[in-house]
């Protein structure tokens, strides 16, 4: 139990006001009665000469305080009011690595706010804080708040903010900053900045620096509203240190503005009818969904549209858009389906150009269109409503035949209604014939995936297919949620072998391709899943974990149940491939291509490392036969409400 400073037993012998006035005492570890003042002073002189900490004396600290340091009975702090506003926005958690520039708000959250709604989550890196918020949103559909220094904290956080922005995920950032140069302490000069949000303005949706509490309240509610209106994205509020810490009058006067989230934009009705007509008349319509399903309703609507039309669906996987084993899911034969299509409907597709074209990444890059030249292309996306300069996340421009600037999920009901209304009598019989053919094709693709997984079945290191088959055997009867996704084969096999049917079973990608997202986003998603009693599991790549492994301490500290299974292939293998291309293009041989990308010599012992963070561990496992029992033991730990990690040494692919 923590000792409180106002406990009688712990009270200092000096009056509290005098004690607080002694600014040089900030780090004093002990209070010693003045037994011999001269002796103590002599000792202090010696201490100063030696550069060590002087001993406190009553005489030295007897000077009267210059100012009152305790808030008055009729006052409260600015950050208490900030907490009132923050509570009105219904955040479940607020993630932070501590920082003095937001100490006022930090204290108000844990004391005035009771450390509930939001509860403070202790993070060991600001990138972890933001990526946790990213993962949390994707599992729960609610944003988390994050506190950070306006300078050094934001610099740490920037990579994760960029990922969230590219992924159009809202994160609510509160940055501490001391703007008044005349009042800064020493460190605050490094931590003070004129325009804190400038550094991330290219990849946040909105920011503000309030100069009064009323200004804060309006901007805080506005920021939430902007972040949560599709297309969603991170927002930033910069909170002046003085605004947080200065006392304000307790009497009422500062209201909390009402929050109203705008409804997302639906497509123009004439354009939606035109799209419906094209789909109905198509011989081989294909629906491509990427960031479509904002809510669980998104998947249900897409199923309804696809089943009515009996159209193939390609789920590009930025969200959980379509069940993996649905007969109309043709994601695993996407290129073939695109090549056959005469109408392609893109729903919140982030890279439509790469959907209908392919680029050959050799010394001389060449481009080939996959889609038929006559294929009609239709897009429904908020990407046409929001674009920023500088960072090139808007990708190549694809010429299309019909572009509907609207939210995909919000537009689906109108599109479904139009398709049903405009389908001529007997049209559904034709659709059904198409559906039978598509079902046969997807059945063959699934069978081929199982056959492909059977190769190198008993190999050591463990094949990524075997890894995923072993995991599936352990979780298939649980209420599971795969909270990782990754640009690795370990991340790709589940979509081929597992039965994804619920909105929280697949959470998409990092967005901006920034490595280091996987581990913290998994912990954030597991935090969201905890209250639902879901079994959260992550296929954790080794290179990703090493960016900020401390987030697993956060999981242990806050009892966040998460099963992390290492896809430990001991290298950044995506980069190995790129260097290989350069080696061969320059005719220099490929045998040194792994230099700079391998994580070997020494091999990292993840079980040992993560065990030191307070997490149950198994491994390293190299034989596939050992995998099943290890997973069972680890799952038992996770079911008790704790994190666990199983280190599996895997093949590259």
């Amino acid at each position: 139990m923590l000792k409180r400073p106002n406990d009688d037993s712990e009270k200092p012998s000096l009056p509290r006001r005098e004690f607080l006035a002694g600014s040089t005492l900030a780090g004093a570890a002990a209070l010693i009665a003045p037994a011999g003042t001269a002796q103590a002073q002599a000792g202090n002189e010696t201490a100063r000469q030696r550069g060590t900490t002087p001993i406190m004396t009553a005489e030295a600290e007897a000077a009267p305080p210059g100012e009152v340091q305790v808030i008055g009975a009729d006052e409260r702090s600015g950050s208490d009011y900030m907490v009132d506003v923050i509570k009105s926005l219904d955040f479940d958690y607020i993630c932070a690595n501590p920082g003095s520039s937001f100490r006022g708000l930090h204290e108000s959250i844990i004391n005035y706010g009771g450390n509930e709604s939001p509860e403070l989550i202790t993070c060991l890196h600001e990138e972890s804080s933001v990526a946790m918020a990213h993962g949390y949103f994707k599992a729960e559909g609610k944003p988390l708040a994050v506190m950070a220094h306006g300078t050094v904290g934001l610099q740490h956080a920037s990579m994760a903010i960029y990922n969230a922005w590219c992924d159009r995920v809202p994160v609510y950032l509160l940055l501490g900053n001391h703007m008044d140069a005349a009042m800064r302490r020493s460190a605050e000069w490094y931590h003070g900045v004129q325009d804190a949000a400038d550094m991330v303005r290219d990849y946040t949706k909105w920011d503000d620096t309030p100069w009064s509490l009323t200004h804060f309240a309006e901007s805080a509610v506005r920021a939430y509203k902007i972040a949560m209106t599709p297309p969603m994205a991170p927002v930033v509020l910069v909170l002046d240190g003085h605004l947080q810490e200065a006392p304000i009058d307790k009497s009422p006067g500062l209201a909390v503005p009402k929050l109203t989230i705008p409804s997302p934009p639906q497509g123009d009705s004439a354009a939606v009818e035109a799209a419906a007509q094209m789909l109905i008349e198509a011989e081989n319509p294909v629906i491509v969904a990427d960031r479509l399903a904002r809510t669980p309703a998104g998947m249900s609507l897409l199923i309804e549209l696809a089943e009515y039309l009996q159209a193939a669906v390609i789920d590009q996987g930025s969200r959980m858009n379509f069940p993996s084993r649905h007969a109309l899911n043709h994601s695993q034969r996407a290129a073939a389906a695109i090549a056959e299509a005469d109408v392609i409907l893109g729903l919140e597709v982030t890279d439509f150009w790469a959907t209908v074209n392919t680029l050959r990444d050799q010394l001389h890059r060449s481009v080939r269109r996959i889609a038929q030249p006559s294929a009609k292309l239709v897009t429904i996306t908020t990407g046409d409503l929001y674009i920023r300069a500088n960072y090139q996340d808007f990708r190549r421009m694809q010429e299309v035949d019909l572009a509907i600037a609207a939210d995909g999920e919000a537009t689906l009901p109108a599109l479904i209604e139009a398709v049903k209304r405009l389908t001529p009598r007997g049209g559904q019989r034709l659709f059904a014939a198409r559906g039978s053919r598509l079902a046969e094709q997807s059945k063959a693709v699934a069978e081929n995936a199982r056959i492909a997984a059977s190769y190198a079945w008993d190999a050591s290191p463990v094949s990524t297919a075997r890894l995923c088959a072993e995991i599936w055997a352990q979780i298939r009867n649980e209420d599971w949620s795969l909270v990782s996704s990754y640009y690795s084969d370990g991340g790709a096999w589940p979509r081929k072998l597992w039965d994804f049917s619920k909105s929280y079973q697949w959470l998409g990608h990092a967005g901006g391709g920034g490595i280091g997202y996987g581990a913290p986003a998994s912990v954030g998603a597991a935090l969201a899943n905890r209250k639902h009693g879901r079994l959260s599991l992550a296929i954790q790549t080794d290179g990703d974990l090493m960016y900020a492994p401390g987030v697993l301490w956060t999981a242990a500290h806050h009892n966040i149940p998460l099963l992390s299974i290492m896809n430990n292939n001991r290298a950044y293998h995506m980069e190995v491939m790129h260097v290989q291309r350069m080696c061969n293009a320059r005719n220099r041989g490929i045998d040194r291509a792994r230099l700079g990308s391998e994580i070997t010599d020494p091999n990292i012992d993840y079980a040992k490392m993560v065990s030191g963070l307070g997490v149950y561990t198994e491994g390293p496992i190299t034989s596939p036969a050992d995998l099943g029992p290890a997973l069972q033991r680890a799952i038992a730990v996770v079911k008790r409400g704790e994190p666990a990690l199983v280190d599996v040494v895997t093949q590259v692919r």
């Binding site: 190999a459 061969n584 590259v652």
Partner: protein
């Protein structure tokens, strides 16, 4: 051609085609037919890239004794994937292409080095093949399975030298013909997996 395509899609094509090809082996062909096929080959301009007897040049792969099926050969001629021009029915009939195919198969292949699987295993790792095709050549997200049952050595070797997709090209400077043969022997030596029925974890 239609028959060949139909057989191919049924999955039993390799066996039936090999049997058919055996019946139509070079020894059973009349010399006149071989000459006709090669004449078509020269007349259509194929030799300018594939060499006078289809043994390959820097511009086009070896076709002689390639082991590819007639259906695959004809399909590729109709819809080539790289720089080769497409040949329509009006330019050359399926019958002529089949005759050309048989003539090419009757040619002696260029000398194929004898591969050493144990050396190939080391090269497969050292030269980075594993990074896309996985340790046992079983393939993955970034590269297809190579073995067991690889494509013909001629096609394999050609692809290593001039890949059509994103695989880095391996020139003679970085990988000798002997080394390709060693790697080929390694991927060909990979064991067949157990049947799916023997792997309960892969049940649907």
């Amino acid at each position: 051609m239609g028959t060949f395509c139909l057989l191919r899609t049924k999955g039993t094509a390799p066996f039936i085609l090999f049997a058919a090809m055996a019946l139509l082996s070079a020894r059973s062909l009349r010399a006149q037919e071989v000459d006709q096929g090669l004449a078509s080959f020269m007349q259509a301009g194929c030799a300018s890239c594939h060499g006078a007897q289809g043994r390959g040049t820097a511009l086009g792969p070896q076709l002689a004794a390639s082991g590819e099926s007639a259906a695959a050969f004809i399909a590729f001629v109709r819809q080539p994937v790289r720089t080769m021009p497409a040949y329509a029915q009006q330019a050359i009939s399926d019958q002529d292409l089949e005759r050309m195919y048989r003539s090419l198969q009757a040619q002696t292949a260029a000398a194929v080095p004898t591969g050493r699987a144990e050396v190939g295993e080391q090269l497969f790792a050292a030269d980075g093949c594993y990074s896309c095709h996985a340790n046992e050549a079983q393939g993955g997200m970034h590269g297809p399975r190579l073995g067991p049952g690889p494509i013909s050595f001629a096609r394999f070797s050609w692809y290593v030298r001039q890949p059509t997709r994103t695989m880095p090209p391996y020139s003679h400077v970085v990988l000798s013909d002997q080394e390709i043969a060693d790697i080929y022997a390694f991927v060909a030596a990979q064991p067949e997996p157990p049947p799916l029925s023997a792997i309960p974890l892969l049940a649907p």
